[in-house]
């Protein structure tokens, strides 16, 4: 029910939203939970395992019970905490894990079976037969036990990620955080202040608390306005979810969850990576529940939540609210409720020094199937009696919200006086903890420690500031005792829940200890305590207190489980925002890309590049197009865009020496105006990459790398020049993007090239493996007479801005001669016919010896990989590159393995494998490149090819890798 005069809601802005089949009325400023409580709805969910009826336990992000699903269809968001989700007009919300309805859930029968469903039940019961786990048990269990479900459709929500930098990140906008931000901002520091809530102020928005003589929330609002005016970046609805190395923090901003009609460009969430020179953690504290019999009914909630619903939302969660407390806070709840005119039938406090007016004793039972109707108490004087009430406010003391201090591996420390874990000093470099997060529970302590933390942060970044005055506030922290485990009366069947979300009871934890899961980490995994969306925020300390008791150790020796990021759930879609579909990876496109697509070429990903597969004509399939294009190159002329090959410009007096050092063969001996094939090794003697390098001037080379290894080679050259050969005076830069380059190949290639190049192109001016500057349609360009097809061929390069034009022009000229474009498939066929290697062959475990190029390793100089390439193991009994030709007309398949005829096709008999197969139109056969044990001496032998993956086999003949034009006359002539 609403309490007149209370709450920070806007009573002039009513709204309606749907929960299951009901329309719920609320006001701007409500959460789904506060609006439901206001209309008397306590039941908001069903528990994970036993399907117990549950209502909200908290009024914040630690909520284990009140999980709902919002939105419909593909936009559905499961496991939303009703205690955090703002109530917005028209919002569709649904309960979870209940069928047919929240009030009548057939799987409530699980609760009757609870005696059999304790810790380890799944592990012990669903053991045999082993196969049944995957097919039967797991699907059944998943259906019965569960949280909300995703829609299964692609996520249509717009998400965002962003980066931010600051001098000081303040985590939490309560009194400590506000004070820290103010202190730092006044010193001129660049401050980000992030808080989970819509309204900053922390407990000040939820308590009857005065600061500087004004209501706490008013002081907070004024301070926030002042901070904004000073340039502080105030980020409400933003949870700092993780602390990472080097002052990096992750934060989830809920950008539009609170808007009824958000702008379509607005993302739902934004995941921030914040690089902060310094951090003040002022995340407050989370209240503890008390383990007492049947403590999970709707209507039983934390005292801090009861006060929050009253002060923040003007809602009394019941008409008669009893109180069970082991902390002074329970009495504060009583006073607050009574001041608001709400009946408090009893305050039960088991402590010996319980204040006057309280009943010294414990709550030992409750009843009410779908909501609390009464509690049973056991006063310390003896006897038991029932008290009628529809809500029970439970206060078990506070746990500092110290999770972020543990994200880099530190463990918290048990403080005997405070009876709670506090953060370890220096747990996260650059982070200072202030306020309740540091175990300083009064407002005055929070304000002062916030100021001190800011000063420490300012000192770290070298700023000085005379501290600002502290506002006056309450200086009495609540006293609390260690977690209590209330046993029920003898002979009664009862359960005391610790972890509400995972239905873990005191008995489960004791049983885990009994079965020797005595370490807190083992107990967690055995019982599932502390798992799922709330990560045990309201249960961890209570559970380990029970474990400590059961194992006879103290709480400090028992310790906590590891707190890992994220602090609260972060949608993967926010972390990876933008990285779906085309956003998954950057796309690199050549200058001819639009023209190639316009011709219907299917584009194939090659690293980040897109290259054409083939250029279909009519209703050709890929193979018909590929064969036609390959034949076209062998008979007339073909044009292909080869701009994706890596191009590295190398200049300086040391250029020749550098190339001699990084290539197996010599380049200092290469004449100006000439091109040479180069083989590059890794230092371990295996092949890194290959390509051609042209000498354009005495101190000027242009290296070509494969498309795939361009980045690796560039990094390697930088390493060699900076680290291994700093003596060489040489500069290098990647020019891959700066030059558009086209291959023109075939018997009529020269004719095509000559028609567009001003200079004469003859065997004298441009013999095989020559290069030089030319004028291409009036533009300075470069011409290389090199061939990857075995045909008479050229590559023409022009600055990229002319690429699209040159592509069109070259194609028109080639087509006039009966030629045309060719794609990657034809390019591959042409090079397999010629035995030219790609990274299908040089996979990283292949040596120069294996591909028959060990003689290229120059004897006259040192080079990278030379020493290691001489290792005997790399020179004896190797799988050597061979050509393969299918006998009998069946295709050869990539990845198939080779065996001697008559051998069993199994691993011990393995003789080699196929790397690059194709149908060769020039040879009229299925051919391939592959590797075979000692293969160079086995030409002519017939072996068996077996492809186990495709269930295919055929006989193949071992031949020389160069199957077409072995003498190479076509390229030279």
């Amino acid at each position: 029910m609403r309490v007149p005069g209370y709450g920070l809601i806007d009573r002039d802005a009513p709204l309606k939203f749907r929960f299951d089949n009901d329309w719920v009325k609320g006001y701007a400023g409500d959460t789904v939970a506060s609006a439901l409580l206001a209309q008397g709805t306590r039941l908001m969910g069903r528990s994970f395992k036993y399907h117990r009826p549950r209502g909200p336990l908290t009024a914040d992000s630690a909520e284990p019970n009140a999980l709902i699903t919002t939105h419909d269809g593909a936009r559905r968001i499961p496991n939303v905490r009703a205690t955090v989700q703002p109530a917005i007009h028209g919002l569709r919300t649904r309960s979870q894990n209940a069928w047919p309805s929240l009030g009548l859930d057939v799987l409530e029968v699980n609760d009757l079976a609870a005696p059999f469903l304790g810790a380890g039940f799944y592990y012990k019961t669903f053991m045999w037969p082993p196969k049944a786990w995957e097919k039967l048990y797991e699907p059944l269990i998943r259906r019965a036990a569960g949280l909300g479900a995703l829609s299964g459709d692609p996520d249509p929500w717009r998400q965002e990620k962003a980066f931010a930098h600051c001098d000081l990140l303040v985590v939490g906008g309560g009194p400590a955080g506000l004070m820290a931000a103010r202190e730092a901002a006044e010193a001129g520091a660049d401050v980000i202040l992030a808080d989970e809530d819509e309204i900053l102020g922390g407990r000040l928005t939820r308590e009857a608390e005065a600061v500087d003589g004004r209501p706490g929330h008013a002081w907070a609002a004024e301070t926030v306005a002042a901070l904004r005016a000073m340039g502080v970046r105030v980020m409400p609805r933003t949870t700092v979810t993780g602390a990472y190395d080097g002052g990096t923090y992750g934060a989830l901003e809920r950008v539009s969850h609170h808007l009824a009609d958000p702008h379509p460009d607005l993302p739902r969430d934004c995941f921030w990576r914040i690089a902060a020179k310094s951090c003040v953690l002022a995340a407050g504290a989370l209240e503890r529940h008390i383990a007492f019999p049947m403590n999970d009914r709707p209507g039983i909630m934390l005292g801090s939540a009861v006060r929050a619903y009253l002060r923040r939302w003007g809602v009394a969660p019941g008409h008669r609210i009893a109180i069970f407390t082991t902390s002074d806070d329970g009495h504060r709840t009583a006073a607050d409720l009574r001041a608001a005119g709400i009946e408090v039938p009893a305050v039960i406090d088991p402590r010996e020094d319980a204040p006057e007016g309280a009943i010294r004793g414990e709550v030992v039972g409750t009843s009410g199937r779908l909501g609390l109707t009464r509690i049973e108490i056991r006063p310390s004087g003896g006897g038991r009696r029932w008290i009628e009430c529809d809500a029970l406010a439970v206060s078990g003391g506070w746990n500092p919200t110290l999770h972020l201090t543990c994200h880099l591996g530190a463990r918290p420390v048990w403080d005997e006086t405070l009876a709670t874990f506090v953060p370890r000093d220096g747990a996260v470099p650059g982070m200072t903890v202030a306020g309740a997060a540091a175990g300083l529970f009064s407002t005055a302590q929070a304000l002062e420690s916030g100021r001190e933390a800011a000063q420490a942060a300012l000192a770290r970044i070298g700023r000085q500031h005379a501290s600002t005055a502290l506002p006056k506030a309450d200086a009495t922290p609540p006293r609390q005792i260690a977690p209590l485990d209330v046993r029920g009366p003898k002979g009664t069947r009862h359960r005391a829940w610790l972890d509400f979300q995972n239905d873990v009871t005191v008995k489960d934890v004791r049983q885990a200890a009994q079965e020797n899961y005595a370490s807190v980490e083992h107990m967690k995994r055995y019982t599932t305590q502390g798992m799922a969306t709330d990560q045990g925020k309201t249960s961890n300390v209570a559970a380990l207190a029970v474990l400590a008791d059961a194992t006879g150790r103290g709480i400090p020796e028992t310790g906590t489980t590891t707190f890992r990021p994220p602090f609260s759930p972060v949608p993967i879609s926010a972390m990876g925002a933008g990285a779906t579909g085309a956003g998954f990876a950057p796309e690199r496109l050549t200058t001819s890309d639009p023209a190639m697509r316009a011709r219907g070429a299917p584009m194939i990903e090659t690293g980040l590049w897109y290259r054409p597969g083939w250029f279909p004509q009519g209703d050709e399939d890929w193979r018909a197009a590929c064969s036609r294009e390959a034949a076209m190159v062998r008979t007339t002329v073909g044009v292909a865009d080869v701009s994706t090959l890596g191009k590295i410009d190398i200049q300086g007096p040391g250029a020749a020496a550098l190339l001699d050092f990084v290539y197996a063969n010599s380049f200092s001996t290469l004449k100006e105006g000439r091109v040479r094939y180069g083989l590059m090794l890794r230092e371990d003697g295996h092949v890194m990459d290959d390509g051609t390098t042209a000498r354009l001037g005495p101190q000027h080379y242009v290296m070509t790398t494969t498309t795939a290894a361009a980045d690796q080679v560039m990094r390697h050259l930088e390493f060699v020049t900076q680290c291994l050969r700093p003596d060489l005076d040489v500069a290098l830069i990647s020019t891959t993007e700066q030059w558009a380059q086209f291959s023109v190949a075939g018997p009529r290639a020269r004719e095509t090239v000559q028609s567009i190049v001003a200079e004469p192109v003859t065997d004298e001016t441009f013999p095989f493996m020559a290069c030089g500057p030319v004028t291409v349609a009036g533009t300075p360009g470069r011409l290389f007479r090199i061939s990857f097809s075995g045909e008479h061929a050229y590559e023409i390069a022009v600055p990229s801005r002319y690429g699209a034009h040159l592509w069109r022009d070259l194609l028109a000229r080639a087509e006039a001669l009966g030629g045309g474009p060719y794609g990657m498939e034809a390019l591959n066929v042409l090079r397999i016919e010629k035995g030219f290697i790609t990274h299908s062959e040089i996979t990283g475990r292949v040596t120069a010896f294996d591909i028959g190029m060990d003689r290229m390793i120059s004897e006259r100089k040192d080079c990278i990989g030379k020493a290691a390439s001489r290792r005997p193991a790399l020179l004896e009994n190797r799988e050597e590159m061979v050509g393969l030709r299918s006998l009998g007309g069946a295709p050869i398949t990539a990845g198939a393995h080779l065996y001697r005829e008559g051998d069993r096709p199994d691993a011990p008999n393995d003789q080699g494998y196929v790397t690059s197969p194709c149908w060769s139109p020039a040879l009229g056969a299925h051919i391939a490149l592959g590797f075979l044990r000692n293969g160079r001496s086995r030409h002519g032998e017939v072996v068996r090819m077996v492809d186990r993956v495709r269930g295919h086999q055929t006989r193949v003949e071992i031949v020389d890798p160069v199957q077409f034009d072995p003498k190479g006359g076509r390229a030279r002539g």
Binding site: D245, G247, L408, D684, R715, Q722, P726
Partner: protein, 83 residues
């Protein structure tokens, strides 16, 4: 994780490429015995504590760097140009 490139300043870890221990800087002579090459290519310690690694500011200035860091605490003591 962040690294302070001596040329570019404080930058996010995503801009850097990691190679391995600084051993890679001490390339044996061409005629060094096989044991020296074996050690250079393969033998690395796996320290719990201080180590010196080679990183490249690949998405920045391209400089190769020696980063002194602690594998246990993740503390970065220094970032220097490799040569």
């Amino acid at each position: 994780m962040r690294l302070t490139c001596p040329l570019c300043g404080d930058r996010d870890r995503r801009e850097f490429y990691y190679l391995g221990h600084e051993t890679w800087l001490d390339r044996p002579a061409a005629d060094a015995p096989p044991e020296a090459w074996d050690a250079y290519l393969h033998l690395r310690d796996n320290p719990c504590g201080p180590t010196r690694d080679l990183w490249q500011h690949e998405a920045g200035c391209g400089a190769w760097l020696v980063v002194s860091r602690d594998t246990a605490t993740h503390e970065i003591a220094s970032v220097e140009l490799a040569r």
